[in-house]
């Protein structure tokens, strides 16, 4: 049981918990935020598996760009009036 195994187990449990929360949250903005932190944890998973290229790409795209696109959609819709 080395240190990297413990990190791996913690990351796995957090990944599953965050995915569950992202699907089952009440409000949409909370789901989007949980999705963002899920992809940030996936970056740690990629680093553990020695894939730095994929880790850089996932960090920039998965947790930066996709989150901002979701938030912009929700902003534009919320301006239109009704509650989501």
């Amino acid at each position: 049981m080395t240190l990297i195994n413990i990190v791996e187990i913690v990351v796995s449990v957090l990944l599953i918990a965050l995915a569950f929360l992202a699907i089952n949250s009440k409000t949409l903005i909370k789901s989007v935020m949980f999705l963002s932190s899920l992809s940030m944890l996936a970056v740690i998973g990629f680093v553990i598996m020695r894939a730095p290229d994929v880790a850089v790409t996932e960090a920039v795209i998965g947790s930066g760009l996709v989150t901002s696109l979701f938030v912009f959609t929700l902003l534009a819709v919320r301006k239109a009036g009704k509650k989501i």
Binding site: V56, T57, L65, A76
Partner: protein, 248 residues
């Protein structure tokens, strides 16, 4: 009832996949992979004569494909045709976004944010730093982790920062379209040049140089810089489309 059926179905599928994994029927156990029996070993030993000499950093010349980063060798040289198709998928999706969200009369989405002096000035300084980081990552794609895709996305994120911090800023969408189509056609033209002069599409025409130099690896840095510019301009166009709405 429907939820219960869905739960049953997913549990059944997960049980099947996990039992396959536990008995190692289709995949070797995680970590026990023998890379020497796979095709990837050929990509790692890229000696041109094929006599399995050792490739040494900083000394090896006359390689088949020169980058120090093996993933770049696969993405931009061995499977570059794949990457061309993938860039095309990105182009089609950005075209679809522009068709769905673009109207005739457009204006900027009102964010009601009122940026103050510090935010405006500081964001301009940060814009330069993020843009330079994106360009650095695109140029050094054959030596360090990263490359055209994350570099291009960083360029697009700097545009996004200016959008959020400045009330008046509006990207020149026409400029993005011109840059995107120029870089995309340059990629195809380089491929056709390889077909004309060498013998197959996207052949590496230039000299490879020493493994690990900045000016090495032949065409691969040029192709990756083109990919970075194309991805950056496309995603900036997508962000611009998401931040506009119809109106006067």
């Amino acid at each position: 009832m429907k939820n219960f059926l869905a739960l049953l179905l997913t549990l059944f599928l997960g049980y099947m996949i996990m039992s396959w994994l536990a008995t190692n029927e289709f995949f070797p156990a995680m970590g026990d992979v023998d890379v020497t029996t796979r095709v990837s070993q050929k990509y790692i030993e890229r000696d041109v004569n094929g006599n399995s000499e050792e490739v040494v950093f900083g000394e090896a010349t006359n390689l088949e494909s020169g980058p120090a980063n093996t993933v770049t060798a696969i993405v931009a040289d061995y499977r570059s045709f794949d990457t061309l198709g993938e860039v095309t998928v990105l182009f089609v999706s950005s075209l679809g976004v522009a068709l769905l969200l673009g109207g005739t009369k457009q204006r900027r989405l009102e964010l009601n944010f009122h940026p103050n002096f510090m935010l405006r000035v500081g964001s301009r300084a940060l814009f330069g730093i993020i843009l330079m980081t994106g360009i650095y990552i695109s140029i050094h794609g054959h030596l360090t982790p990263g490359g055209g895709f994350p570099g291009g996305t960083m360029i697009a994120s700097s545009m996004l920062l200016l959008y959020l911090a400045d009330d008046e800023f509006r990207a020149k969408v026409k400029g993005f379209k011109i840059l995107e189509s120029t870089t995309g056609s340059a990629y195809v033209i380089i491929g056709l040049l390889g077909l004309l002069l060498g013998g197959y599409f996207l052949e590496n025409l230039l000299v490879n140089g020493v493994l690990g130099d900045l000016f090495s690896a032949g065409m691969i840095p040029i192709i990756y810089i083109l990919i970075g510019l194309k991805v950056g301009s496309e995603i900036s166009g997508v962000i611009d489309n998401f931040l506009t709405e119809e109106g006067v």
